[in-house]
Symmetry: C2
Subunit: 152 residues, 2 copies
DNA sequence: CCTTTTGGTAAACTAAGTTTACCAGATAAT
DNA sequence: ATTATCTGGTAAACTTAGTTTACCAAAAGG
């Protein structure tokens, strides 16, 4: 059975890559696990590409593909499966301009809200562990990284 | 062509999940791109599961599988391809105890060193952007997250 | 009009993982 | 010691998720 690592040989020596990657992955795993436990059992890792901030509601399939860094075809398959599971619908024609628009169903919106809740819980826990001030500092620093052109 | 996103709708509203995930992914992509450009052209994303800290040298295949959170079979295929490309060898019998041990070849070690160099460059850039003090603070906070039992 | 561009789709292929099963050497038990 | 069990590595079949290549319909623009 696949499981995650847990023997950190000298945290002090770790470079920014691992320091960011490992907690990010841990959060992803937890989100999926709790989502499944909350009744959204069909959702697995690739679906997260659709569910993650800022969510697909109101967007075009092509736009979502770009955001997720994948081909339109791959995104479309994902949307198809999510549609089959009843999480969203792809309506064609937004009135003007050709194409389709994705909208959450009630279930889809519930799942998206659940992700948000889980993340709030995680933030709560981290905040309790690090202290509210330090956690806020961490988020602020990460936001500065984002704001700068450090990430492409 | 798959490309990454770049329209941040309100960084202030982002939760810790996205704040960690996006830069972590950006770093991964950059490492692979620069590795390829530096002559290690066969290396692609899945190989990173082997190359990433603290590296495979001296470890058992099963241990590496555990660290990477994947099955022994999947890891073994990865090691096989890396062996084919001349990055490492799997010697059997470390003297005592049955099994195999992975060791870098010269080329493998060079690739691993290159990853380290790239990460040092990235740290340099981030440090220049955020200021050395703030960047150190960011790393320190992430290290505290790691040290705590917040991540599984 | 007719041509080009844009968004979405479909089919074929490839990559990368899982499950299931198996085998060899080590460890332990009676 | 001989057998039973456990551990680590491997192999085969299957599944999933992505890519490429190709195509089609609607818009846009000369």
């Amino acid at each position: 059975m696949p499981s995650s690592q847990k023997n950190s040989p000298a945290v002090k020596d770790m470079l920014i890559g691992a320091l960011l990657r490992v907690p990010a992955q841990a959060i992803q795993r937890r989100i999926i696990k709790e989502l499944n436990a909350a009744g959204f059992e069909e959702l697995s890792m690739p679906h997260m590409a659709v569910l993650q901030f800022p969510g697909p509601d109101g967007s075009r399939p092509g736009t979502l593909a770009g955001r997720a860094g994948m081909s339109k075809q791959a995104m479309n398959r994902l949307l198809g499966s999510l549609e089959d599971f009843g999480y969203l619908v792809r309506n064609d024609a937004p009135g003007k301009g050709r194409g389709r628009v994705v909208h959450f169903t009630k279930r889809g919106y519930a799942a998206y809200a659940k992700v948000h809740d889980i993340l709030r819980d995680i933030e709560q826990e981290w905040s309790a562990e690090l202290g509210a001030k330090d956690f806020a500092q961490l988020k602020a620093l990460l936001a500065r990284v984002w704001d700068s052109r450090l990430i492409d």
